[in-house]
Symmetry: C4
Subunit: 241 residues, 4 copies
């Protein structure tokens, strides 16, 4: 028994749940989890169908992406994952999917505007979209640079308040304090992306949600005086099971 058993179990569980959320087609999506004390990241192997995935297939790498355990190749997006873990110290899990509505917004190169309280329950502003990657960056180290694109987008934003992003022309990444919470954020992002498109189809000139409503809804779930859910956790009460 390796010392990564519990971490691999956590990553395996979240990857296996992924297709049940309806967010992925075939093998297009992956979840990772980190153990900060061990400096180890557990991630889905590349191109393996979820239905066949076993705990022992999960690949473990260090924060530079170097293999620590596993006989399979990690997800081709592994460098993006470790780049985010290195830069965002408080995240414990990352999910990448090509979920339909979030991917449509990413391909459209548009941030998702905040149009209602369902969105404000999750985060207090638009879901940002990265810039399109430069040709030089694509050629340099594509997956590493995808991480860098995301990090740049969060220079002027809190990655904790907005635990998700659209990578232009590509698709969404979401994160959280755990892999399970990251998965919850990926599900809600897809829902919000869908609601936003429908809303604009009903009324293309609808204004953004006003600040008092954003603050009210975000605070009642995430602020120090949050009163949604059963326990005072400071934030993210909605993700408990």
């Amino acid at each position: 028994m390796s010392g990564y058993g519990s971490l691999k179990e956590q990553a395996w569980k979240a990857n296996v749940e992924l297709p049940q959320t309806g967010l992925v087609v075939h093998t297009f999506g992956n979840v990772s989890a980190i153990d900060r004390e061990l400096g180890a990241v557990a991630i889905k192997p590349s191109g393996i169908p979820y239905a066949h995935l076993r705990v022992e297939d999960i690949v473990v790498v260090d924060l530079q992406g170097k293999l620590l355990e596993g006989s399979l190749r990690p997800s081709s997006d592994v460098k993006t994952h470790v780049h985010l873990y290195r830069t965002f110290p408080d995240i414990g899990g990352i999910v990448h999917t090509h979920s339909r509505y979030a991917t449509a917004w990413a391909q459209a190169m548009k941030p998702i505007p905040i149009l209602g309280t369902t969105h404000a329950d999750l985060c207090p502003g638009e879901i940002p979209c990265t810039k399109v990657m430069s040709d030089a960056a694509v050629r340099r180290d594509y997956e590493e640079e995808t991480g860098e694109q995301i990090v740049t987008t969060f220079r002027s934003r809190s990655y904790e308040e907005t635990p998700m992003v659209l990578v232009a022309c590509h698709g969404p990444f979401a994160w959280g304090r755990t892999a399970e919470q990251a998965l919850y954020h990926a599900v809600m992002l897809e829902e919000i992306a869908r609601l936003a498109l429908l809303t604009l189809q009903v009324n293309p000139r609808v204004p953004r949600l006003k600040k008092t409503l954003i603050q009210k809804h975000f605070q009642r779930k995430h602020g120090p005086d949050a009163y949604y859910g059963q326990r005072h956790e400071g934030s993210k009460g909605a993700t408990r099971r």
Copy 2:
């Protein structure tokens, strides 16, 4: 055994049915039921997944929202529910969801126009949308004021003929003589919201349904001479099981 057993059972049953309707994602939705003789309202606890909900988790409050029975916190929307029960004397159940199409219309801040007989079978005019809440009201007592917004919208309308509303920027509320009927109204509201958007996508300049057709369809289900369904109940024959 408390005296609220049957009421809690009713509220529990409707909450558990909620995810089967496809109207909710995660814990974003709640149902309540009232026993007018006991002056007691049974409602879903906040942030508990439907799959884990037990009858004993249901929270009972009085018409001011004061706890009567239960060890969990009630839904954060409880004040909206009791406000509606206090003001609409003939309702027995309330459902709140973030169902996709109804929420899209609510976020678009548009009433749902009456475009066909499916809508007229349910209610005899547009589904109204509240005004956006003032900043002062948001800060005062948000959930109470949400109830007040709804009540104001029904000043010039019958809450019995139109048992549902869109809260601007937020989502739908539906009610009925029982929690089960409220759930039926929430399902039909979502269907009508979806049909209306599709209809406008086919023909953006379609006129409203004409009055004679509205009256004919509404009366054949709800009027004193209703002939839809098997029994003369005066109204709402369609909801029997």
Copy 3:
């Protein structure tokens, strides 16, 4: 045992299959079947959920809609059904639904244009939409007049070649040589309605399918030289099970 057993069984089976097609919400849809020799029409009772429907609940009426057998009220649309059976001598079953995309076109008061070979496989031209009923007709005898609206629409058309119609502001009716075939036509109508809307969303200025392609596809399934399917039935080979 009544003499209507086999007819009721046929109608019951098709009504029970209806919700499995995804075409109906709650009790909003009905199927009937006729036995021309007996002059008897078997139809769903009004407002009874499909899941609870038993063969003995099926109501039998004559071609004027007069009760022949059954203890429940027939569907409120029964007069429309018998009107069509009286006027279209070669049909054996009728289906009425409020299926989403067909209803959207009906509410939009637009015929469904023929845009592709999937449509031409089914019928050789647009799916017609009736005119909106006059106020006088609504007040006279609504369900009877709905039948009359449909019949008028087919004055200049073959009800055998185009076994379906949109009733303006209301929804679709489909028919066939049997109740089962009518159900097949209702399913394909919904599919065609959906494809047509999507096609126009991709390209709003797309032309109608050209005549040679319409004829080719319709003839290979329905003409005297049809070569789709396994047997030469003259038409509708696709509906065999």
Copy 4:
């Protein structure tokens, strides 16, 4: 036991999987597989529901479409299939469906533009749409000419890099080295067709994906240095099960 047992099994398996992909309604879709050594093509019989299909129902024809084995009529599209097998030497399976979004683009007579990396993972450019068939060709030999239309479209393109096409006014065909891979391509084509429409609904003026990103994504899955998936197969690593 005939010598076609294994080939028929392969074609049967892919046809039976077809309805599980959600790509087909009723019997509107077919898969074939070829054994190049035997010069034999196994294909679905015409108009038989997938649920009732048995291995022995699969029809075997030669590369001119002449019957080699089977008691049922082959799919009416058989001449299109054999035309493609004759012209594209490296394909082993073909899938034809009327899947919704791909058919909408085909009916709209528009190629699917390349708008994101999900598309570039599959093929390095737009999904082409054939020209509309001339009246003379329709009358000459419709299914043969459908094959010819497709072949003409690939005069200036690699059928290996872009293993799929939209037949104008009709629907999609996809192919692959095996029937199973063809099925995978049909599923991904539908997903890409859907993503492209949603993307244009979010942003009608979105530019095409830039070349460096197309090349990067296509090469990481299909080039000589592909690093997606577990094995170096040269291409199509994503389709392994």
